[in-house]
């Protein structure tokens, strides 16, 4: 067995090059958006159809197994591996300065917009609440239907989506979003939160260490909450291990993918890094249910709780190019160059065109 670590950056390109050259490894670490094009090109094993693999199905939570299923391809193409969900960090001092209750962060989008408007008004436009524009996950959590049932067309331009973007536009005009929100990358947004220029920022458990080291002042006033949500279903990221359909060692590959993702190994892995196991019953372990008094423990328990009933909002057929299309059209709406309706119509139309050429 040869284990090769790959950096996350340009991972998709590396997989693409390997797949095109016929040198895809026997077992591959994939998220559903990566497994979809590979499976569509006939390169991954359909685990539901392979008896030896389907036998393990009950070892994983139904959400996780479902999370690796691919629309239009009738099957699950990866063993569920770790899950993750991000808390939303906020700056209690900035909340207090704006006259907002630092112990009651916004839970719904209504509350978020209200808090952000107050923040902008009270700080004289100096402090923005968010550093980024709404992502596809925001549309999902707001309750917008993102795609039709067979995942052949985007539907985020329905009235609910237009409503969300219209409200973001008002927020942007009132200084609720960072002036550079249209171009901020997640790294830049994180940096602005670190510099206490924005009041809220999504992140992960691993960010706590960064805060502690680089911004102890912020760390002392750090609030941790869930991302605002109108659906009651938080967002989660799912990772999986897929088996190469053309593998010459199929039985060994299935056995190895299962071995890495079995309960014992997933739990051991999740004790070492800030991720969550996708095996049935794992999250009932006290490690993920009992707050041990540390901040890490608090984030861990809160995130584990969120994972129950969480879904992966990002449609698996949505390529990076389609995400860019949405981001750029959202930016045009925020700039006032297009109406929110027009911008979302255009984004959906352009993405559907890209989808059809698959």
């Amino acid at each position: 067995m040869k284990w090769l670590d790959q950096p996350a950056e340009h991972y998709a390109d590396k997989l693409g090059a390997d797949a095109a050259a016929g040198t895809l490894p026997d077992v591959v670490n994939v998220s559903p958006d990566l497994s979809h094009p590979l499976a569509a090109a006939g390169m991954l094993m359909n685990l539901d159809k392979e008896k030896a693999a389907a036998a393990f199905k009950d070892e994983y939570t139904p959400e996780a197994w479902q999370g690796n299923a691919l629309p239009g391809l009738a099957g699950t193409y990866a063993f569920p591996w770790y899950l993750n969900t991000g808390p939303l960090f906020y700056n209690k001092a900035l909340f207090r300065d704006a006259g907002l209750d630092p112990e009651k962060p916004p839970k719904t989008y209504d509350e978020l917009f209200a808090a952000a408007n107050t923040m902008a008004r009270k700080s004289g436009g100096r402090i923005a609440t968010l550093a980024g524009t709404p992502s596809v996950e925001d549309f999902g959590r707001y309750g917008v239907r993102l795609m039709n049932d067979d995942a052949t067309a985007f539907t985020y331009n329905e009235p609910k989506g237009v409503e969300l973007l219209t409200r973001y536009k008002e927020l942007y005009d009132h200084g609720g979003l960072d002036p550079q929100a249209l171009t901020n990358t997640p790294e830049k947004a994180g940096q602005k939160f670190l510099e206490q220029k924005v009041a809220m920022n999504p992140g992960g458990a691993h960010d706590l260490e960064t805060f502690k080291k680089n911004a102890p002042g912020l760390y002392r006033r750090l609030g941790i909450t869930d991302a605002p949500n109108n659906t009651g279903k938080p967002n989660m990221y799912v990772m999986g291990l897929a088996v190469n359909k053309q593998s010459r060692h199929k039985a060994a590959a299935v056995a190895f993918a299962h071995y890495v993702t079995n309960r014992k190994n997933q739990e051991a892995f999740a004790h070492k890094v800030a991720v969550f196991p996708s095996t049935r019953g794992s999250l009932e372990d006290p490690y993920w249910t009992r707050d041990d008094g540390t901040d890490e423990g608090r984030v861990r328990v809160a995130s584990a709780k969120m994972l129950k009933g969480a879904v992966n909002y990002t449609p698996v057929v949505m390529s990076d190019e389609m995400k860019t299309v949405l981001k750029n059209e959202v930016a045009k709406a925020l700039q006032g160059k297009k109406s929110p309706r027009q911008a979302l119509d255009d984004a959906a139309a352009a993405s559907n065109r890209l989808l059809k050429r698959d």
Partner: protein, 297 residues
């Protein structure tokens, strides 16, 4: 006396040059020629990262005409050439004239001007990003002076201009060195003669220096126009992967990167875009060199 037999190497006279060339040719063919020909071929297919694709003729090029992003990118890459090249031709020449004088401590300045060339573009762009941030160094100074804040990184035009300034600044040292070499060949007597005839510094610059280094200026123009047209890193790093607000700062090479990478990458379309970049860059180069020849006549 018996003549010695002809050396064995003679019999290989026809093949030996090729044998010497072979290693170089192999490398060029494998890493230059073959990828180029593949790109040309794929430009006429609907290939994707994971599927080889079928022949679609001129479809990709027709699609380009309807692609709003393509026109934005073409405009930006064109503007990059139009605004960056004059500065990279002129400023390094002035800089070279400054540091050419054998003054005390001039070596320090020569090295200092060259430093940005050695620095990684990623590092330099990150530093510029921090400086131009709405609460960065530049806006801090502007605020002290009672101006600003200027939204360098939030406004599409300012972003593009900032990236251009970065490109010019980073290239100064490189072209300065080329000019220094050329200036060293300008006969000193010409300057002296002009000075005796009463020409001032400006007159000598226009009348003596510029004509003497004109072919170098053309070389710099040709080099910098091709690299300005193919700009990627500066804009990508300052404007972000989406190409600035609403993608308004996307350049052609950024568009190639965006459409052609990832598992769902449209390799056929990206190849067609690359071909367009190649042809325009080639035309630019020929145009500059032709202008030089015309002046020679």
């Amino acid at each position: 006396m018996r003549r010695a037999p002809a050396p064995a190497v003679r019999t290989h006279r026809a093949t030996s040059p090729w044998l010497f060339l072979l290693p170089g040719l192999a490398v060029v063919s494998a890493f230059g020629l073959y990828p180029f020909l593949t790109t040309v071929h794929q430009a006429f297919t609907d290939a994707r990262t994971l599927t080889p694709g079928t022949w679609v003729g001129l479809d990709n090029f027709r699609r380009m005409l309807d692609d709003e992003q393509f026109w934005v990118a073409l405009r930006n890459s064109g503007l990059y050439v139009a605004l960056v090249v004059p500065f990279t031709v002129l400023l390094p020449l002035l800089l070279a004239l400054l540091v050419q004088k054998p003054l005390k401590g001039v070596a320090f300045f020569r090295a200092a001007f060259y430093t940005p060339v050695v620095a990684s573009v990623v590092v330099v762009a990150l530093i510029w990003g921090w400086m131009l941030d709405d609460r960065g160094l530049v806006n801090g100074i502007l605020r002290v002076l009672g101006a600003g804040p200027v939204d360098f990184l939030g406004d599409a035009w300012l972003l593009l201009l900032s990236a251009m300034a970065l490109t010019v600044w980073k290239g100064l040292g490189y072209y300065m060195v080329i000019y220094l070499a050329a200036l060293g060949n300008v006969p000193h007597e010409l300057h002296e003669a002009a000075a005796v005839d009463g020409a001032g510094a400006l007159r000598r610059f226009v009348g003596v220096t510029v004509p003497a280094v004109r072919s170098t200026m053309v070389l710099v123009a040709a080099l910098s126009s091709v690299s300005a047209f193919k700009v990627f890193s500066e804009v990508y790093l300052l404007a972000g992967p989406t190409g600035g607000p609403a993608g308004q700062d996307t350049t052609l090479v950024m568009l190639v990167q965006r459409t052609g990478t990832g598992l769902a990458g449209r390799v056929g379309y990206a190849s067609a875009l690359s071909l367009v970049v190649f042809v325009i860059a080639l035309l630019l180069m020929l145009l500059v060199l032709r202008a030089d020849r015309k002046e020679d006549r």
